[in-house]
Symmetry: C2
Subunit: 221 residues, 2 copies
């Protein structure tokens, strides 16, 4: 029942390394994609390991052996998604310019990943509080890291332009603008990630830029 392929897959899962580009990582990514589809269609609570096994083509015993529980599958999906977004953002920020430009990179990076992985993003939004204990703590740590990077970008912008907005409300408003997309996005009407990122970036950056101090700064200079 346990093929050499799934055995190697298991090896690549323990310890859980961030998915890279090996054959087994690709196999893992494929199973996670199937799991995302099932959670997307049935919701996490409504999905069973049997559904997950049927859809991914792995035997039920194999599913239990390698993934232990649907909780672990949800954990792998969440960890994989947030780690990928954070890694890609870091990479793009290495060579990036001024504070405004860096916030625009954050928005584009988020929307590009989001629109390319809409089902995953819906599953993440909906099952945000399901994971408990170690799994939950590990995912929260990656999310906190992402939040910390984003707050840092906003604080750099705030300092550089002498503004007064609350970085917390601003960053959560921005996440809301971006994450809500899965309820309304229509590629034929709304265009691609770059177009949307431009429009949302305009609204957001103008919105936080023109605070009281911005007016004061404009008068002083």
């Amino acid at each position: 029942m346990v093929s050499p392929a799934t055995s190697r897959l298991a090896a690549s899962l323990r310890p859980l390394s961030p998915p890279g580009k090996s054959r087994f990582d690709r196999r893992l990514a494929k199973i996670l994609t199937h799991a995302i589809n099932v959670f997307y269609e049935k919701g996490y609570e409504g999905a069973s390991m049997r559904d997950l096994s049927r859809t991914s083509g792995m035997s039920l015993a194999g599913m239990y052996h390698y993934f232990e529980s649907k909780e672990k599958l949800l954990f792998l999906i969440q960890k994989h998604t947030f780690t990928t977004i954070v890694d890609e953002l870091r990479e793009k920020l290495v060579s990036a310019g001024d504070p405004e430009e860096r916030i625009r990179i954050l928005i584009l990076n988020h929307l590009e990943y989001f629109l390319a992985n809409q089902k995953a993003m819906k599953v993440l939004s909906h099952e945000d509080e399901v994971l408990k204990n170690g799994f939950g703590a590990e995912v929260r740590a990656v999310k906190r890291e992402y939040y910390r990077i984003c707050i840092g970008l906003l604080e750099d912008f705030k300092r550089a332009s002498r503004l007064t907005f609350s970085p917390r409300v601003a960053v959560m408003s921005l996440f809301g603008m971006m994450n809500w997309i899965y309820t309304w996005y229509n590629p034929r009407v709304d265009g691609d990630a770059a177009k949307l990122a431009g429009e949302m970036g305009d609204i957001f950056l103008r919105g936080i830029r023109n605070g009281k101090n911005a007016k004061k700064a404009a008068r002083v200079n």
Copy 2:
């Protein structure tokens, strides 16, 4: 098994009038509140009529007799929520002033309802696409009406200030900012609806105001 009270409740449910303030409307509202709690805790897919009956204190047979299905309960929750938000907004807009003021009223109305009914709003966000056929169509009609009112407010503002933003992206960005709150709102850190509505209103209104045409208009005047 069917008490006079539940029989009168049933009478008040058919035809389904928007909840008002009668004794039976209050009873209905109470059962809906229990149902919201169950859907909130277990998700719609994970909740059973048995859970709903246990929590609300109505017999299982009574639940089936008066509510028919959990789908109908979700329908009542969605319809009640959106109808209330739309009715309250309309009422507040009757005497409201300039286009900016009217958008601020929309934001405050949405956030006030939202923060007072956070569990309901999470259930609505998560179970957005569950309802099919007649139930789904009826809820979509109320939501479309709300969307239409909001787009109208943005278009009035756009015309009055000669701006160029896309009302669709703008209104969906605003909904995202407001609806995402259930994932992060902490009353001790973030204050009440009025404070948040002020901050989000500032970000949003400045964000849509300072488009290309705003600059042009400023030069012309």
